[in-house]
Structure formats: C-alpha cells, structure tokens
C-alpha cells in the first residue's frame, strides 16, 4: 500500500513536471518565433520558475489538479482491470492520458471557455499533453507490475 502510494505520488510528479515542460516549451517556442532572445539558460530558468509558480503561485496548484485527475482515472482503471484483459501498464497509461486530457478539456468549462493551460490550446498541444499523461500512467502501471512480480 505504501509502495503503491509512493508510485502514485511519483507518477503525479512526473505528469505535473511534463505538463509544465509543455507549458514552458509552448511559450518559449512562440517567443523564439517572434525573434525574442530565448536561450538555453532562459529555458532552464523559466522551467524552474514555472515548476514553483504553477504549483503555488497560480489560481490553482497544478499538482493538486493532476493528483485529483489521476487518482480518479487510476481508480476507474483498477476497477475495469477486473473485467478487461489488458496489460496493467497500458491500462494505467490510458488512464493517465485521459486524466490530463480531461483537465485540459474541462478547465475551460469552468472559466468561460478560456484555456488556462496555454500549452494545451492547440490540437498538437493537447496531443503532447495526452502523451505525457500516458507516460506518467504507464510508469505507475509498470511500477505496480514490477512490485507484484518482486
């Protein structure tokens, strides 16, 4: 149980960090396209700043949203795994992907159709964020599987 909680925490952490990476990249790539002097050190500084500010300086801590979304999605996945024959890693990967996509799609409904996560405004952005959710969920599923095997 403690190990599962630890893996869950790690997967939420991975998902949050990757979502913030997408947010940072999305803004900086555009800035670079309009000839703003974006450098590698600016990227690193901005990413670190975003890691802190998006989890404590915004309207809602991102990690909290991700944790709620992933807990719910993983729970549904765990229930479905009782009936569906599918690899645990893949099932939790899909759940992670759905959780992040749900956050990106549902947040605008609460804010007059406004995309609070700017990195998820385009279809490409949504796809990347879903992929990041999948990676985090897959990590969680794979960790659980390896725990069972050991």
């Amino acid at each position: 149980m403690i190990k599962s909680a630890f893996f869950l925490f790690l997967s939420v952490l991975i998902a949050t960090s990757l979502v913030i990476l997408q947010e940072t990249m999305s803004n900086l790539i555009w800035l670079s396209s309009v000839n703003m002097p974006v450098t590698f050190s600016i990227f690193i500084a901005t990413y670190i700043d975003n890691l802190f500010m998006m989890n404590g300086g915004g309207e809602v801590p991102l990690i909290l949203l991700v944790a709620i979304g992933m807990c719910f999605a993983f729970l549904v996945s765990k229930i479905l795994l009782n009936w569906v024959e599918i690899s645990k890693s893949f099932a939790y990967g899909l759940a992670g992907s759905a959780a992040i996509l749900a956050i990106v799609l549902l947040m605008p409904l609460a804010f007059y159709n406004l995309d609070i996560l700017a990195g998820g405004r385009s279809i490409a952005g949504k796809t990347i964020l879903s992929l990041y959710g999948f990676i985090s969920g897959y990590f969680f599923g794979a960790s659980l599987s390896s725990k069972v095997e050991s």
Binding site: M36, M53, E59, A118
Partner: protein, 365 residues
C-alpha cells in the same frame, strides 16, 4: 493634569484640520440596482446615458433614472465579459444626436462572436439609423477580453480598443487580425487614408497600434492618447499610444499567466514600447478620464483610472505620471467599472456587478 489637557488640545488642533482636508467629496446616488453598468456618456450635468452589459441602454433624465429602456439596441452576447459595452457621443451630438455603441455580437451560428461597433441616432428614446461601422475579425469562441472602449481623436476619427480574446494572445503581434489592437476608423466606418498600415498589404488597414492585451480605458488629452489595459496576473499597464507602435503583448510583459506560468521571461525589448506605468499586483483598470473640471481644483490635470481590484479609483498627476505617487480614492464603493466627468466638474462613477450603481461625486462642502 495640565500637561495631559495640553496634549489633548494639541491633538484636537492637529487632527481636525487634517481630517477636514482629507474628505473633500461626498457621494450622491444617481441610480441603483442596475445590471452590470459598463459605459457612461454624459450629455450634460443632468442627462447621462449609460449601458448595461446585459444589453440595455438607459438614460438618467434631469437627474432621475428613466425606467424605460432605450429601444433599438441590437442583440448582444451577454456572457462572460461580453455584452453591451461602451458608449460615446459624437463630438457634434448636440446637433446630430449621433452616438456609438460597442458590444459583443453573436455570429449567426451562435458558436462564435466578435466585437462590433455601431453608430446610431438617438430619437425619442429610440435608436434609429443604426449602422455597423466596425466588426473585429476573425471571430472568437471565447467571451473575454473584448477591449471595447472608444474615444475620439481631435480630427474626428474614432479609436476603438480590441482585446486579445484571451485564447488568441499571440495574435496581438500579427497585423492580419484585430486581436489586441487599437483601431482607427472614420465615423461612417471607412478607413482614414493616413492610418499607419494602409500601404501594408499584409496588415489590416484600420489598425492604429498593436501588441495590446485587454485595453479597458482610453482617453485623448491634448492630442495625446492614454490607454490602460489589463495585464494577466500582474502587469496592468498605462500607455501613451502612438500610431504604428507595438506595445509588446505577449512578447514582453510584467505579469504572469493565471496558472502561474511565465508567459514571457522578457519585460522589455528594443522596438517594443514600454508602459509609462504598470501595476504588480493587478488593479484591473477599467474606465479612464482626464479631469480638468472646476469643482475640484486640486484634481486638475489628473488622469482618473477606475479599478476593479480591489475596487477604487487611481488619480495620477498627468505631469508626473511616471512617479510612483498615485492617490487612491473612492475605495469604499467596491469594483468600479467606469468613470466620467460631468460638465459641472463632478465625477460620475459606475460600480460593477448585477446590482450596480451610478454615483455622482461632488464637493463635500
């Protein structure tokens, strides 16, 4: 005992005049329980037109709110920050009764909407001769950041602020759309031949300046255009706007995104204009007016900026606006959406919300 009495007397002597000097104004309610008042146009000291975001154009006649709503206002999209927004009177209103209204206009499919400006004639509590003179392009699927303020330049052309639509912020840097721009048109909707981008094939020729976020206040003082705009989380700005210039949003900003993310790590860059003043944290500036009235001589040559957060009015000396000094006034009224000056020198304030008020600020003594 004598000492204590002396100290008490000194205290009274020193505090009384100070308090008397601080409160030089008082409020008079002009209208109550009005739905989201947004724009005010003062015809004369007793007759005031104002808009309600929910779509009504109303009038205070001889100092009393007329319960009858002025008819003929087009359908507006009342959602989010959208609705019937600003009203300005034609410089020759006394002769031609023409006025201009800005509003968020739903497209036919009802899925998208845009900022629209109409001209109309006010005739017996009815708008007639209604003509669309501006429609922002392209449409948006959000109901936020319309800008929608208007002001006349000395030459009779009309400036319209157009917000970035929130989700379309990067578009403020491109000249092929109306997001995050200040527009300049003639009152018949035609485009002045001396607009800065008329010869640029890739630009919309009604654009006057760009790189704005959500400009909520604009005023022209002796030919100088002052504009205020909402930053994101922090970074509200007061700008002196000149034609063709780029005010930087979102390439440079003093604010952060609502998620906490850095929109841009840059606050300045050559070729991008700096604000003459900015606010961190945000004050959410709304209306803006220049005061040159006689009722409050101590406020002459001031810019008054109404603010939604936490809710007050900022007075800035126009000759010293770059200093950090600003006087905070009327902070007991809540969110203030607009501010105007009446010909008698009193200020007219509109408080925000579903139970808004129109308040006249007059001299206390």
């Amino acid at each position: 005992m004598k000492n204590k009495l002396g100290i008490f007397t000194l205290f009274i002597l020193f505090t009384l005049p100070v308090n008397a000097a601080q409160v030089i104004y008082k409020y008079q309610n002009l209208a109550e329980n009005i739905s989201h008042p947004w724009g005010i146009a003062v015809i004369d000291e007793n007759n005031i037109l104002f808009t309600e975001l929910s779509g009504a154009l109303r009038i205070i006649e001889d100092g009393v709110l007329n319960p009858e709503i002025i008819s003929g206002v087009p359908d507006v999209l009342f959602a989010g920050q959208g609705g019937l927004s600003d009203i300005v009177l034609d410089p020759n209103f006394a002769i031609n009764q023409k006025l201009y209204l800005s509003f968020s206009s739903p497209d036919q499919d009802k899925k998208t909407n845009t900022l629209e400006v109409i001209s109309a004639k006010l005739h017996s509590k009815k708008l007639i001769e209604i003509k669309t003179i501006f429609k922002a392009a392209p449409s948006r699927d959000t109901a936020a950041h319309y800008g929608a303020r208007m002001a006349f330049l000395k030459d009779g052309t009309l400036l319209i602020t157009s917000g970035d639509g929130f989700n379309y912020r990067e578009q403020a840097q491109y000249l092929d759309n109306h997001f995050g721009k200040i527009i300049r048109i003639n009152t018949d909707g035609s485009i002045p031949s001396d607009n800065p981008f008329v010869n640029d094939e890739e630009a919309l020729s009604d654009i006057w300046s760009y790189g704005h976020r959500n400009p909520q206040g604009i005023v022209v003082v002796d030919g100088v255009v002052y504009e205020n705009e909402h930053g994101p989380m922090g970074g509200d700005e007061l700008n002196v706007v000149e034609p063709s210039k780029n005010y930087g949003w979102p390439a440079i900003t003093y604010g952060k995104d609502y998620s906490g993310a850095t929109i841009s790590p840059f606050a300045e860059k050559e070729g991008l204009e700096q604000p003459i003043k900015y606010w961190v944290p945000s004050i959410a500036p709304s209306g803006m007016v220049f005061y040159n009235g006689s009722l409050f001589p101590e406020w002459k040559n001031s810019l008054f900026i109404s603010a939604l957060v936490p809710g007050d009015v900022r007075r800035l000396d126009i000759e010293d606006y770059q200093s950090d000094q600003e006087e905070i006034l009327f902070s007991d009224l809540g969110r203030i959406r607009d501010i105007e000056v009446s010909p008698d020198g009193s200020l007219i304030l509109a408080t925000d919300g579903p139970n808004g008020k129109l308040i006249r600020v007059v001299r206390a003594n």
